[in-house]
Chain length 140, copies 3
């Protein structure tokens, strides 16, 4: 497992981790197989999304905010229930194919870490399963 | 594959399966790698979520209910379309990293089985991929 | 990795790929393990869902449309922000258990490719990890 550290600077924020995950993949030495992402937090999530236009990030956060506004009916004492629900909607894990030593994300795909209750120090766990350059099984 | 049996007691209910998944992991003997969860039902889902405060469970079900209320425009004859949509929003699968023989869920993370059309008998399939104590590949 | 080609014919459409994924699984020769699905597009998604009643497909698209309507507040220049958010809600990846050479989808489970910004030519990447008929590790 390789763990990336992420520092978020706002209450809600999307951080593009595509390059860091790609660098970790190179370090891991996986050539064919899968890169699994896991967010070990319950008020953040992961999304595979378009990294071409910065307005997409804003639109995603705005749309999730309209979907799950702060609601006086929430009982959770910490007052961050909306962030918990957004985390469920975006998801805590994702599995990305790796081919020829590269992430197969598609033309526009980026790896977005979604912060819903920041600013905080966060982690993203990366696990790798497949074969290395010699075709031998590799788990990391 | 190891299959857990879950009995739900209400129409909508969140069942914390963190301990049962941990016990299955021990039985499987996986030390490094991944534990994959899959819900083989189309009106239930899986969420990785905070297991500290019971109010979070209630807030999640309430928020999903506000997001996808029963709608007279639904045509599906069984009348449980809202449950189907909630199942898609929470998701049918998740992949959790395992390190040193333990689930890397984070401080507050719990594994929540989400029932949206109970009470029923349900299943959760667990698959394991990685290496055992001797560093040998293990698939279960 | 095996890549399926999908042609969609409408702006929004759900395409049942259960049979094609099953056929790819047979070609791959995986007997025990996991089949990972990944959508390399940011305006489409994957859902595991009920393939018995065609009305369920319609209800899913209608419910997602009510959840994320076109919104004049969206700024993304291409005008397809709603499709991007729907893609995040349904998810880009899923992991399905394989046992005895067959997908363990449950009685009613089907693999739904969700098009939110068609018609287009689309892809679905399939990765396989586990063991073959001889019990040897297999990654594809």
């Amino acid at each position: 497992m390789i763990t990336l550290e992420v520092r978020t600077n706002s209450r809600e924020e999307i951080v593009d981790l595509t390059d860091q995950v790609g660098a970790a993949l190179s370090r891991a030495g996986l050539v064919e197989g899968l890169c699994h992402l896991f967010v070990p937090h319950t008020t953040a999530g992961i999304a595979i999304h378009e990294n071409a236009d910065p307005d997409v990030k804003r639109d995603i956060l705005m749309a999730l905010d309209k979907l799950v506004p702060d609601d006086p009916a929430f009982r959770h004492a910490e007052g961050n229930s909306a962030a918990h629900i957004k985390s469920i909607l975006s998801g805590a894990s994702a599995s990305l194919p790796v081919s020829g030593g590269r992430l197969e994300l598609g033309t526009w795909g980026g790896i977005y870490f979604c912060e819903f209750d920041g600013p905080r120090r966060r982690k993203l766990h990366l696990s790798f399963a497949g074969t290395d350059q010699g075709g031998e099984p590799l788990f990391l």
